[in-house]
């Protein structure tokens, strides 16, 4: 599979990981075997890391609180930020960890059942790490758009009938 088609495949899968191999091969103009082979290669190379589903938890009765935490840290000799990032991302309640340029170093997304649990995580686990200098916690109040998809809006076709 050439690079252009591979990029196309990735951008389709990024939007819809449930698309079946047959449809994928049809829209790409490739054979099913080529698609299968390419996907397993991409998985092996960890270019495709995981397949996720975007869920609007607010519509369920499961309570979830999400916080974005800005963390300032002292990088460690020989390891930079990687070591401290690992200390943080190993917690299963941590959903994402990014190294960020600008006023702070790490941006941590944390998902918990309640505000209290988030507070506990920050004060007991995060702030007590040796190289953590400071934290600032922001709670997410409402999600409008996530992973490129609108959370609440469904679009409808408003095009009018026009005689061609």
């Amino acid at each position: 599979m050439n690079d252009k088609m591979r990029d196309e495949l990735l951008s389709i899968l990024e939007k819809n990981s449930r698309i079946d191999f047959k449809e994928l091969s049809v829209v790409l103009g490739a054979t099913e075997e080529e698609v299968l082979e390419e996907i397993s290669k991409l998985e092996k190379e960890n270019i495709i890391c995981a397949y996720h589903t975007l869920i609007n938890w607010e519509k369920t009765d499961i309570e979830k609180v999400t916080a974005l935490i800005e963390v300032k840290v002292t990088p460690q000799r020989g390891q930079g930020f990687d070591h401290i990032a690992e200390r943080i991302y190993n917690y299963p309640e941590v959903k994402s960890v990014y190294l960020i340029s600008g006023g702070y170093d790490l941006l941590v997304t944390l998902e918990e059942k309640s505000l209290k649990e988030i507070a506990a995580f920050v004060s007991d686990k995060l702030s007590t790490l040796d190289s953590v200098l400071s934290t600032a916690t922001h709670f997410i109040l409402k999600k409008y758009k996530d992973h490129g998809s609108l959370i609440n809006e469904t679009s409808k076709d408003e095009r009018e009938v026009i005689i061609p």
């Binding site: 196309e8 389709i12 449809e23 049809v26 829209v27 076709d157 009938v161 026009i162 005689i163 061609p164």
Partner: protein, 389 residues
């Protein structure tokens, strides 16, 4: 009381499929594959620019031929996509959609008795515009076995000593056909030999799926005898903004601008500001939409293949044009029954010329999820017809 109506206008053939569309608009729960406009919203950065220009109070007229900045960007765009240089000052006019450019282009060049050659199936307004301009339309019936491309012998056969204009509608609505370089070269040779003018409607030029679109105006000796028409509706999903343009020899553009000035004044100012932004920064968004159309095109072609429905592979626009002759029904009959029995709206080919009897125009300006449901229903319908025969 007298009859106040113009004979010329009342004499225009009413669209034969008006009746069909009346039924379509009544059936709210039908899935439509009939719409000839993009399903995408105009890319946000373009809409944002439109909003910004309103905020800035740019609610005045622009110059008659369009904003200078827009004409310059159009000139740049044609230069970088087609390699043709048009002077933005006197070889470009900004119009209210490509359709206005067709109208004023014909009116600017037609004298009584002149003949305009119109290959069909094609967009519905060429013929009435030619008639309103006072020309005699001469129809070429394009053939499915030529993939609906215009062939030199077909053109030669249609030319008389009164022929003045050839309308070249590629990439084509409704067939999705394209003309490749070698096809155009043969046509250009005849056009030059017979001293004709070409009106090249390239509104779908950004949406091709084989090679990049080539304008006939880019061929040797053709720039001076071509009115190139394009616009923002299809490539940038800007149908409602009503913005198109024509590029051509300055004496023709000058006369077109004269009509435009008297009839329209200028194209909508807000749309023009937004369009400057579209041309400057839109390439990536256009490519994304093109890719998406291409996926759907392949999806439909594969579905027809599985259904064993005869359909040549279209490489342009966003239409497929399957043949339904095996069912021994007219296009309109087929489309009406499909609508009533399976609630899918497609356009009978005959909307685009008598020679398109036996064909349907199916638009893929719809999401694949929509297409899937529609294909399922079309398959049911086709199966039912085949089992009953």
């Amino acid at each position: 009381m007298r009859n106040f109506l113009s004979d010329k206008v009342t004499g225009l053939k009413p669209s034969g499929i008006r009746k069909f569309f009346d039924i379509v608009s009544e059936m709210k729960d039908a899935i439509s594959l009939g719409v000839g406009e993009p399903d995408f919203d105009t890319p946000w950065f373009i809409r944002d620019e439109g909003i910004y220009s309103l905020e800035k109070g740019r609610t005045f007229y622009t110059s008659n031929s369009g904003l200078k900045a827009l004409r310059e960007e159009i000139s740049n765009y044609i230069k970088r996509t087609q390699g043709i240089s048009y002077n933005p000052y006197d070889e470009v006019v900004v119009t209210v959609g490509g359709s206005e450019a067709i109208d004023i282009g014909l009116r600017a060049v037609i004298n009584p008795e002149d003949e305009v050659i119109i290959p069909q199936p094609s967009y519905v307004s060429y013929e009435p515009c030619a008639i309103l301009a006072g020309a005699k339309p001469v129809i070429i019936n394009l053939k499915s076995e030529n993939e609906f491309r215009l062939k030199p012998d077909e053109l030669l056969e249609a030319i008389t000593d009164k022929t003045k204009v050839l309308i070249l509608p590629y990439p084509n609505n409704p067939t999705g056909a394209i003309m490749e370089k070698e096809d155009l070269e043969k046509i250009a040779k005849i056009v030059i030999e017979k001293d004709l003018l070409v009106m090249s409607d390239e509104i779908y030029s950004a949406l091709t799926y084989k090679n990049k679109h080539i304008s006939i105006a880019s061929l040797d000796g053709m720039k001076e005898r071509t009115i190139l028409i394009n616009g923002f509706s299809k490539a940038y999903a800007m149908t409602g903004w009503r913005l198109g343009y024509a590029c051509g020899p300055k004496d023709i553009i000058k006369q077109m601008t004269k009509i435009h000035q008297f009839a329209i004044m200028c194209a909508p100012t807000n749309s023009q500001y937004a369009a400057v932004e579209a041309l400057k920064k839109g390439d990536e968004e256009v490519e994304k939409m093109r890719q998406s159309y291409n996926h759907r095109r392949r999806f439909l072609m594969n579905a027809f293949k599985e259904m064993k429905l005869d359909c040549f592979e279209p490489y342009g626009a966003f239409y497929v044009f399957p043949c339904i002759k095996e069912f021994n029904m007219t296009s309109e009959e087929f489309a009406t029954r499909l609508l009533k029995e399976e609630k899918v709206a497609v356009v009978p080919g005959t909307a685009f010329g008598d020679c398109a009897e036996g064909y349907l125009r199916i638009s893929y300006a719809y999401s694949i999820d929509n297409l899937k449901i529609a294909i399922e229903r079309i398959k049911n319908f086709v199966d039912k017809l085949r089992n009953n025969s």
